[in-house]
């Protein structure tokens, strides 16, 4: 069958996807593990541990997602360049 399909990306290298998958899994599972933080002490500036620990996870998650973004987009760019280089010949 004549296929009109042009691959949008070349084959993936698993490394970056596996690492960012682990980072994202950590960012989902750890904040949901309540027994780790259902305590009053130690307080931080008067705020109980239960409250400040969860708030502290917000910047941590942002950083984990940020690192995943960097890993995945770098690999993504490489995969795209590999097919576009082929499809377009010399010009890119």
């Amino acid at each position: 069958m004549s296929s009109p399909e042009v691959p949008t990306r070349g084959p993936a290298r698993p490394g970056p996807y596996v690492i960012s998958g682990i980072l994202l899994l950590v960012a989902i599972v750890v904040p949901l593990y309540v027994p780790a933080y259902s305590y009053d002490e130690p307080r931080l500036g008067g705020i109980p541990f239960f409250y400040w620990y969860q708030m502290a996870w917000i910047p941590v998650t942002a950083a984990l997602v940020g690192i995943s973004y960097w890993l995945v987009t770098r690999e993504d760019r490489r995969r795209r360049e590999s097919v576009r280089g082929l499809a377009d010949g010399v010009e890119r």
Binding site: E5, P31, Y33, G46, M55, T61, A62, S68, Y69
Partner: protein, 564 residues
């Protein structure tokens, strides 16, 4: 313009003139911006005469605009009012779960949404139901997803009105005797909102969101620094909250709330957070925000920067405790205690009138942004998946845009009537059910992004089973004080004592039914639908040609046949 020059009949609360003036000025500013938005980044050749332009803002929003738009879309006025209200009334389990909810949300968004963006970009999908239709070729499943989206969104819009109403009440606009006059400012605000949404489409809330978000950040940052200093530190605030929440309620014989969840509420706490996070991006208004972005990576970049809003929400939740210390009295027009008035009242009591005006305006405008996006999203669902799919398959883009504009008006006025004619608790119950229902579209939408393993009729049956269980379980939750049904969103897993968010159990049932029936239907060789997507579509970015263009150049002999 806001009907305020008219002296209201016997206001039961004093009108705060300065705060009210600030709110009106900011409201007018935002209205002008809303109409001006029609000219912003406009495609001069076509105008706003297609759903891509009217309903998705030209599909061209970059990282910054998306950050403001989604921030305004997801962190709604109702959130700002309801989360601190829950903290004030019952403490951590029903209030502070919003923080882990909006933490685990972003890794999930990062994983799922760029694939949805890519396939939608390639095929010109406007709604999640468009994608389900393209992937499974099942009219029943498409309509199920579309109707669930519309039904779940309607009460959500109504709750935005509840948020505006809380602000108007503490400002003194309202009277227990004259219901019509009480609702007049609300009606006027909504008519203006409907008008600029009609003319400008998604561009209006995108521009307004910038103003709203800056105001709300300003209000929360100032409150979070100033109030603890005024009250003698966070320590004293938390101590008074702890004392109040430990007080035994005479009606139930249990403590009023949970300061720090005990072991028996762990499962409720984390399932509420996880279930809400999984559900949020199934709501049509969230997906509209995603599909309006310019590139595959815009949403991923935003997943890393949107958590700043969660930090703000966390501090806002703590203001519920600050109100406990301050002894804020959220008295409604009829004299009853209405926890939803807590944060507006706190600002009015503790700050100079002009600053309270800014904070209250931020909440009120915060209701307009999501209300506009939600009505657009619901209108797009109606237009694409009911009007075009079922009534007029050859609708032109121009007809689609005009149907959608009218549908957005109908949706908004439906919500308005809901709030004015019915009890507020009806809207809250419906919203609770809506959260359970919308999660039942997750398997059809998300599994489809990765695999065609599920059978279309199995997904449909799973959806129906999840909706049925969720509705019955929510009905059976009885409020211990009022004895009313739909008393909450937590129930025991059937056959156990483990208290969890109902939506999560319904979701598990949904998945099991869909998986088992998929095996069965495949074994019975029940006909599968046509899949018009290709594997390569899910990784496409903004530089790849759209499918319409590919089809012109290389017509497919058999759509959906080969994928690789």
């Amino acid at each position: 313009m806001n009907g305020v020059g008219v002296p209201l009949a016997a206001p039961d609360r004093p009108v705060n003139g300065v705060a009210l003036t600030i709110v009106i000025i900011l409201f007018l500013l935002v209205a002008v911006l809303g109409f001006f938005a029609a000219r912003w980044r406009r495609e001069e050749t076509t105008g706003l005469h297609s759903l891509d332009e009217w309903g998705l803002g030209g599909r061209g929003f970059g990282t910054w605009v998306t950050w403001f738009l989604l921030g305004g879309d997801l962190y709604t006025a109702y959130t700002f009012v309801a989360v601190p209200a829950a903290m004030w009334a019952t403490g951590a389990v029903s209030g502070f779960f919003a923080v882990p909810y909006t933490i685990v949300l972003y890794p999930i968004v990062f994983l799922l949404m760029s694939r949805l963006w890519s396939v939608s970009h390639r095929h010109g999908f406007v709604t999640p139901a468009d994608f389900v239709g393209g992937r499974y070729g099942s009219r029943a499943l498409t309509v199920a997803v579309a109707v669930t989206g519309i039904v779940a969104t309607m009460p959500y819009i109504a709750l935005q009105l509840v948020g505006i109403k809380a602000v108007l009440t503490v400002l003194g606009l309202g009277s227990a005797e004259n219901v019509l006059l009480t609702d007049l400012p609300l009606i006027i605000a909504f008519v203006v909102l409907a008008a600029y949404t009609y003319t400008s489409g998604l561009r209006a809330p995108a521009l307004i969101a910038v103003v709203k978000d800056l105001l709300i950040y300003l209000a929360v940052i100032v409150a979070v620094i100033y109030l603890p200093i005024k009250f003698g530190g966070w320590g004293t605030i938390f101590d008074s909250a702890q004392a109040k929440l430990a007080t035994v309620s005479p009606a139930t014989g249990k403590p009023a709330g949970a300061f720090i969840p005990g072991a028996s509420s762990y499962s409720a706490y984390w399932t509420l957070a996880l279930g809400s996070a999984l559900a949020l991006f199934m709501y049509p208004h969230s997906i509209t925000g995603v599909l309006a972005t310019k590139s595959r990576n815009t949403i991923r970049r935003n997943a890393a920067v949107l958590p700043l809003y969660s930090l703000m929400l966390g501090f806002l939740a703590l203001l519920g405790y600050a109100a406990i210390y301050a002894g804020t009295k959220p008295t409604d027009l009829n004299g009853a205690v209405n926890p939803q008035l807590v944060v507006p009242q706190l600002f009015l009591d503790q700050f100079p009138a002009w600053f309270a005006g800014i904070a209250l305006a931020a909440i009120a405008i915060g209701a307009l942004v999501p209300a506009a996006i939600m009505s657009i999203a619901a209108a797009n669902l109606f237009t694409r998946n009911i009007y075009r799919d079922l009534i007029k398959p050859d609708a032109t883009p121009r007809q689609e845009a005009s149907v959608s504009k009218i549908a957005s008006l109908v949706v908004k006025f439906g919500a308005l009537i809901f709030v004015i004619a019915m009890d507020q608790s009806a809207a809250i119950n419906m919203q609770l059910l809506g959260g359970i229902w919308i999660l039942q579209t997750f398997p059809a939408i998300v599994a489809g992004l990765y695999t065609r393993w599920f059978h279309r009729w199995a997904l449909f049956a799973g959806w129906a089973a999840g909706i049925a269980y969720g509705t019955i379980a929510a009905y059976n939750v009885v409020n211990p004080v009022t004895k009313a049904h739909f008393g909450g969103s937590i129930a025991a897993i059937p056959g156990t004592d483990v208290q969890v968010y109902i939506a999560v159990v319904a979701f598990a049932i949904n998945l099991v039914v869909a998986a088992v029936l998929s095996l069965l239907f495949r074994a019975m060789k029940v006909a599968d639908g046509k899949d018009i997507t290709r594997t390569s579509d899910y990784g496409a970015d903004e530089n790849d040609p759209k499918v319409a263009q590919l089809q012109r150049e290389h017509p497919l002999a058999e759509p959906g046949g080969p994928t690789y």
